[in-house]
């Protein structure tokens, strides 16, 4: 690029000047479709949503223009809403911790296994990512209830005498949520592990360290930032996923996403739904900034 401007710079004919102007405007022209999408269809809606969250709500109307912080106060004081925030945080935290443990073990397994297994395992890990969330929900929806596969398998194997149903329990919601977040966590951790020299593990073993010691003293410190990033990513994802917990969990399992949808489609209370969304956005932004600062620190370590 610099070569182009340099060769043409000495002879500044009008044509060359035009070419340079084109050169300067070209990147903006190239970026314009992407910027239109993210500014007009993301930036402006976000600002309107922020504004909307301060509007008044009246029955039979979506909203009434006004300026009130009532909805935020309502979210922070009304028991049902406060509970929803806590439920979301708690469920996301537990689910992303479980995701992290399973994801780490899975990534380590793939990393240590001979290369011929690798492709099969990666294909397997891609499955939850490539299947629609609704299909995943439906799959578990057929597995957990009284007439589902789980109950049938357990009774016909003679482990249980009566049919059981795990459907509409917090456990089902948790299983579904972990399933949805697992691939993100797995791929982040696998990419981190791939950057580590496997001979370090062997060296540690040769020096007499037990596997657990090797894990604690060698692997864990090397993957620590990766663990935090993967955890944060799973947490964001678990927080935003509302369909899985609300379809598999009990009716009383109100997450923030569920309440947004309920206020928006069911109760037509747009200001309250917006206020809820803003809280979710802020939570996601906080976790993202945390992740970014970790990434920055990691790169500065290596530099």
């Amino acid at each position: 690029m610099t070569a182009v401007t340099e060769t043409h710079a000495p002879v500044l004919t009008t044509e060359a000047r035009r070419a340079r102007r084109v050169e300067r405007l070209l990147p903006w022209a190239l970026m314009s479709p992407a910027l239109v999408i993210s500014i007009i269809f993301f930036g402006i809606p976000m600002l309107l949503m922020l504004r909307m969250s301060f509007n008044e709500h009246a029955p039979q109307r979506l909203y009434v223009p006004g300026f009130t912080a009532r909805h935020y106060v309502q979210l922070l004081t009304e028991e049902r809403f406060v509970n929803a925030v806590w439920t979301t945080m708690k469920l996301s935290l537990v689910a992303s911790l479980a995701t992290l443990i399973i994801g780490y073990a899975f990534a380590m397994l793939v990393w240590l296994k001979p290369a011929r297994w690798r492709l099969a395992f990666i294909g397997l890990a891609l499955c939850p990512l490539l299947i629609s969330e609704i299909s995943i929900i439906f799959g578990w929806w057929m597995f957990f209830p009284k007439n589902g596969l789980l109950s049938y398998a357990l009774t016909s194997a003679g482990i249980l005498s009566d049919k059981i149903s795990l459907m509409y329990t917090e456990f089902a919601a948790f299983v579904g949520l972990v399933y949805v977040t697992l691939p993100f966590c797995f791929f982040i951790l696998l990419s981190i592990l791939d950057g580590i020299d496997k001979r370090l593990i062997e060296a540690s073993g040769d020096l007499g360290a037990k596997p657990l010691t090797t894990f604690r003293e060698v692997l864990l410190p090397l993957t620590w930032t990766g663990i935090l990033v993967a955890f944060a990513q799973s947490f964001i994802w678990a927080m935003g996923t509302y369909a899985t917990p609300s379809a598999l969990g009990p009716d009383t399992l109100w997450t923030m996403g569920y309440l947004i949808q309920e206020q928006m489609l069911g109760k037509s209370n747009w200001p309250l739904a917006s206020a809820f969304s803003m809280i979710l956005v802020v939570a996601v932004a906080v976790v993202m900034m945390f992740t970014r600062s970790l990434n920055a620190r990691r790169t500065s370590f290596h530099a």
Binding site: M1, A3, V4, E23, L26, P27, W28, L30, M31, P33, A34, L35, I37, S38, F41, F42, G43, P45, M49, A105, F106, L109, L112, K113, L124, C127, P128, L130, I131, S132, E133, I134, S135, I136, I137, F138, W140, W141, M142, F143, N147, G148, L149, S151, Y179, E202, G205, P211, T214, M239, G240, T241, Y242, A243, M264, S274, S277, L280, V281, M288
Partner: protein, 285 residues
């Protein structure tokens, strides 16, 4: 078993695993494989069920529900909507994402980090939030008698909020791998920027473009939270219809829908694989 363990301990990589760890790793492998496969296998089995209810064990098998799906105007219509929206999303997201990534790779841009953040940010937002935002902003907008809200076009753009940053991210990484001397050579030989882009750059990153386009397609095909907020009865996509039907009553027809959706996705993956292998052969030759 002991011999096996000895043999393993001699091999590379497994050097630190005693027999106990090996047992744990086998148990864990079974757990993970089972966990990931359960909903898939259950759905696949159920789609060949003959009964009207979702119930295990399955006594008779048939293709009844596949015929039922194809005979239902509502479901085939929803599938068609899904495909139209996914193709539209692919076109919008791939074009905008590839061009922006090329601009980022090739030209000095002021406020690069800020612009990067603006483009990437929607990818990290929950679908619920994006759907609500777009619904609020474009809820009542009517352009020359064309109702934007509830239209497929608005849904395509909404899906692009996830698909475009993904394409951008993948293509930015891909563009970084191309040899810039080739691009310079094209300029030196008198190639115009656009000509260079289409004749030199695009062919050398075709695998990246195809893969990111198909990922955009898959994202749009599978997404249903935004679609739930932004479609009406006539434009609802298959996942939305599945979600609404699941709330009222689940029948094996939903299993068929899930299988068909998954087949569309795996067809895309096959295309990526075939393309990739063909490209590899080409470079090998």
């Amino acid at each position: 078993m002991p011999e096996l363990a000895v043999e393993r301990s001699g091999s590379r990589g497994g050097g630190f695993q005693p027999a106990f760890l090996k047992a744990v790793s086998i148990a864990f492998t079974i757990f993970v494989v089972g966990y990931i496969l359960i909903p898939i296998v259950v759905t696949l089995i159920m789609s060949f069920n003959d009964a009207n209810m979702i119930r295990f064990p399955i006594n008779t098998w048939s293709l009844k529900w596949y015929r039922d799906f194809l005979g239902s105007a509502q479901f085939t219509g929803a599938l068609l909507n899904s495909l139209i929206v996914a193709i539209g999303t692919t076109i919008i997201a791939t074009t905008s994402g590839v061009l922006a990534a090329w601009a980022f790779e090739r030209y000095p841009i002021p406020f690069k980090n800020g612009l990067y953040l603006i483009i990437m940010l929607p990818l990290f937002m929950p679908g619920v939030v994006l759907g609500l935002g777009v619904a609020i902003a474009f809820g009542g907008i009517n352009i020359f008698g064309f109702q934007l809200y509830g239209s497929r076009l608005l849904l395509m753009i909404a899906h692009s909020l996830w698909a475009m940053p993904l394409v951008f991210m993948l293509m930015e990484a891909t563009f970084r791998t191309i040899d810039h001397r080739i691009v310079e050579a094209s300029y030196d030989l008198g190639g115009k920027p656009l000509q260079t882009f289409f004749e030199i750059v695009v062919p050398s990153v075709s695998t990246g473009i195809i893969s990111s386009a198909l990922f955009a397609f898959v994202i749009s095909l599978n997404e249903f939270v935004m679609a739930l907020f932004l479609t009406d009865r006539d434009t609802q996509t298959l996942p939305v219809l599945m979600w609404l039907s699941l709330r009222s009553a689940g029948t094996p027809r939903l299993a068929v829908s899930a299988v068909i959706l998954a087949c569309a996705v795996f067809a895309c993956l096959t295309v990526i694989m075939v393309w990739y292998i063909r490209q590899l052969r080409k470079t090998a030759r």
